[in-house]
Amino acid sequence: MSLTGAPLVEPTDLELVERVRSGDVEAFEGLVHRYQGRVYHHVQRMLGNAEDAEDVTQEVFVKVYSTLNQFRGQASFQTWVYRVTANLCVDRHRRRQRAPQVARSLDAPLETDDGEVEAELPDRDGEPQQLLLAVELRARVRSAMLELSDKLRAVIVMHDLEGLSYEEIAAALGIPLGTVKSRLFHARAALKKALEPYVRGTPRGEGGRWVA
């Protein structure tokens, strides 16, 4: 609330962009806070490991900042950020394929002073066997995602995991609407095929729900 009692209005993305362009580099921090989570999660989902997620997220924002003069405001700032993110993810993925490096997978246990612990402890009071199945299933789903091509993975991540519309995806990736729909269909079909044994054959918990 402001001194007059009127509610404080947060600056819009465009207002922050204009401030940055005018030389106020600190205004960029507002944009970082707004989008770092989305970018970080997107990169995680695209690349499947934590080191890349941190590196590429930083690269995204530095690139967004350095090329702000190219942002004309015709598309939303979110679309612009997604476009930069998608391109850098593709670059990083190709580099990794050419020169594979050891990177900590999101499923790998963490080293702590007390020994190794699971990176993500499922919030359940299930038996150890069910926990193991959950971990295996999670790893299989991630693996199936990474087996998709960059183009298919980008669309399914943006639509099914991040909630972007077909139109927003088309704008971010610079592809026609029909191509978005087609890639989404093929991505889903490929995932369904890859996860078929887990969807049909994996033991279910009570009520017919999946262990994951």
């Binding site: 970082v32 997620a53 999670r138 099914d160 889903r188 995932l191 999946w210």
Partner: protein, 162 residues
């Protein structure tokens, strides 16, 4: 539309009301379609259940530390100037080429084998517009002398522009 595509569109809420009603009616009698819908729904549920790690607490600080060292985006004025420069570039290239040809022609005409011809101001003005015609006109004047009107005379040009 085949079953898989229908299922995909149905899950995205992109079927028109009538198509949706027709699809739901078909689900009751088409076991394969129902299985396809269940399998696709379960697949997407598995995908959405994948957890993600939160960014490190100092991510924003690290980003800003790098941003402060990065080259600043060009100010509006300088970008506008650069953009304008890009639009002027074709004209500048043409003018530069014309000046180069003009210089070459002068050198040729001032050589020991040819007369020392001074070009009229109208010919000089024409250089920036049509390089080929200028070069031919200069050759013509070399052969016939400065008194002979060439195709680059203003009167002729005016007629051609009409």
């Amino acid at each position: 539309m085949d079953g898989q595509r229908l299922v995909s569109d149905y899950l995205d809420g992109r079927l028109a009301p009538q198509e949706r009603a027709s699809f739901e009616a078909r689900l009751v009698i088409d076991a394969d379609l129902a299985r396809e819908l269940e399998a696709m729904s379960a697949t997407l549920a598995l995908l959405r259940a994948l957890p993600t790690e939160a960014p490190p607490a100092d991510m924003a600080a690290r980003i800003m530390a790098e941003v402060r060292l990065a080259p600043a985006p060009a100010r509006r004025g300088s970008w506008a100037f650069w953009r304008a420069g890009l639009r002027l570039r074709p004209l500048l290239v043409t003018a530069a080429a014309a000046a180069a040809v003009f210089g070459l022609v002068l050198l040729n005409l001032g050589g020991s084998d040819g007369p020392n011809v001074r070009l009229s101001s109208s010919d000089e003005a024409f250089v920036g517009e049509c390089l080929v015609d200028y070069h031919l006109a200069a050759s013509d004047r070399y052969k016939h002398g400065p008194a002979t009107p060439g195709p680059t005379e203003p009167a002729n040009n005016a007629a051609q522009e009409d």
